[in-house]
Symmetry: C2
Subunit: 449 residues, 2 copies
Amino acid sequence: MKVAKFGGSSVANGNQIEKIGAIIKSDPERKFVIVSAPGKRHQDDTKMTDLLIQLGNIAFQDKPYMDNLNVIMNRFSEIVEELRISPSILDDIKNNIQEIINNNESDQMKMDALKSIGEDSSAKLVSEYLKTIGLNARYLNPKDAGIIVSNEPGNAQILPESFSELYKLRQYEEIAVIPGFFGFTKEGKLMTFSRGGSDITGSIVAAGIKAKLYENFTDVDSVYTVNPSIVSNPKEITTLTYKEMRELSYAGFSVFHDEALIPAFQQKIPVCIKNTNNPDAPGTMIISEKNKSRKCVVGIASSKGFSSLYVSKYLMNREVGFGRKLLQILEKESISFEHAPSGIDEMSVIIRNSQLSAAKEEVIVNRIKEELHPDRITFHRDLAMIMIVGEGIVSTLGIAQKATTALTDAHVNIEMINQGSSEVSIMFGIQSEGLNRAIPSLYNAFFGS
Amino acid sequence: MKVAKFGGSSVANGNQIEKIGAIIKSDPERKFVIVSAPGKRHQDDTKMTDLLIQLGNIAFQDKPYMDNLNVIMNRFSEIVEELRISPSILDDIKNNIQEIINNNESDQMKMDALKSIGEDSSAKLVSEYLKTIGLNARYLNPKDAGIIVSNEPGNAQILPESFSELYKLRQYEEIAVIPGFFGFTKEGKLMTFSRGGSDITGSIVAAGIKAKLYENFTDVDSVYTVNPSIVSNPKEITTLTYKEMRELSYAGFSVFHDEALIPAFQQKIPVCIKNTNNPDAPGTMIISEKNKSRKCVVGIASSKGFSSLYVSKYLMNREVGFGRKLLQILEKESISFEHAPSGIDEMSVIIRNSQLSAAKEEVIVNRIKEELHPDRITFHRDLAMIMIVGEGIVSTLGIAQKATTALTDAHVNIEMINQGSSEVSIMFGIQSEGLNRAIPSLYNAFFGS
């Protein structure tokens, strides 16, 4: 029994939904289908969810919203025509939207309901289409499926009782098509998950029905060993462990939001990343235990946009609480940090640039000077992080040597190395300008022929 | 105007004190001489300070102590004979000791006074000897010199008013011979510094008189680039910065206690490590600012005897306060730690073995399991730390590559790397068993021909 989740690009138009049909038909184990809202059909297109948010922002202020509603209905209508399914579904969608706009709930609750229309309608369209190609499919509302969540609009959390409810779905004869992104409270109120929430639904359903496999269909053939926008045609990753996936996601890999996978991970359900447009490609398997025979380094992730705050003070290590006080100053400015490596008389704090502003930087520097009297304090901007990831990296001879040689050969100075805190990765900090030299050189060292 | 401090081996017998005489005579700028208590004359000898502590432990319990006193007096008597100075000094020393034993102070105060006899007598012997070779020398008691300290027997701290008092000594005609290791409270009570306290006195006097140079005479020609017990005849270090010295001291270099130098460092007084037995050797200069033209890596320090505690928990980085709670558990067991590098879902804490016991280890592991529910917790014993030290290391291309290549060539697996938290060092953690392969290979890479 498999759960197949399809992302926004897989339901963007009729042609894409036909591909879903072929995929489901090709494997009778695919009994659960989770769908996102229609995504972009081309670079400049707008995602359905964003259209719905725009509609809400206008309608909830009692402004005329018919133009916005028409744009939305036209997109659904196009899909209905392309798939040659009954247009009665369109009235159903339109009624749903108008009911939400006109009801007496708070704007926040109404927006959550409106946002869910994208996924909900996708599920209805897909299930209707699957029937037309001879599959025994049905739309299954998250309430009927048993997806019970906390009362937190826009950030709902799954409640544990959901899983036993979901397990009962195993008895279904039909192929269940479930909209992603939302659930219902015990009181029956609709709540959406955080953004990327269709991945969450897929993972919850896979955990609940104890699926043999959770297939996550996207628009790439696999997870790649390195960012394809830096190295062209990089090798594909065939298997990854959860831990490796998490380290890769952390530093810039964005196949999906790794936290969404938690429910599946907790049940040790293997996850497969596949391509709707090329379903015969093997994809990337994400598993809980590593395969011993495999090559040690599986991928190289990288990300720009970090800064480091460096503070030195002679005899810092005798000054009890220095580090804590420094971190408290950052906390006061609502800055969360990534790493805080410390030396004897020195401390660095690595921060994502998105956490900083010129004003905050000034406040921080002044407070540190006044309260901690450092010998020196500097901000180092334009830092990029590189993660070399692989289970067993810590116990394999020569990995650090290979990496540092590759960086030196590329004339990239290494600002930071953090090895040993993680068993599955080595982290390097370099100047951002060197990233496009560093990554190809590292790729060549670890994956070149 | 220079301050020359002589360690225990330099005053261990008459022959050594004659060398001091020659050193002082050779440079009229050497106007201040600080001396330790007589040290070991040979491997199995006992240091004077330890003999005095033994004496106190017996005498303060009203047990017969004459045998112990005789051993002490015989050592002083031998030196007097060797130097052919007046034996009247011996009565003076003996009276001092018996006065201390018989007075009504607390045992703690009496022990402090007794411990100071070693340095005090050394200073008297040396000043008498200097006179016999035609130098205008005089013994100067720390009270008369103006070394004013806090009321903490065995751990006295210098008070700031001392420095202006000491500055007045610049007007002295004579060469002042001052005993190291102790000072007096404002109320006139004798207090010793922590062990290694003669270095503290030297540094205080150098700062107080604003010396041109503080010479620290020991029994080695210089600070070496690497531990001479691992690599034979290693290269000498000609100049070091304070920061470099501190990093080297931290991981096993033990030329002197680096904190003793703080008063001298604060006044930016250069320090020279020299050999009493080979005073013509240039020694090692320790200065505040680096010499730009110098080679980047100045030394490689190493030390066995570390352990690492490794804790991993999936999604640790979302669990607010995980790291703090872990460190609090260690704090509860009075364990201070050296480094605590953290990854996304993992954290390591590096601890000196001396901080641990099997019982404490069990308590810690159990508490972490109960309170933090980690996925995995392991203790990794037999860890050695290697520090590659040099100002400018962070901005020099290829240092990490050179080091990791040297370690890999020596078949040493790298457990940890910490680069970037310090601007003057890279730290490596390896298994202790590999240290004797690692250090020669690193030495060769950085200092080989």
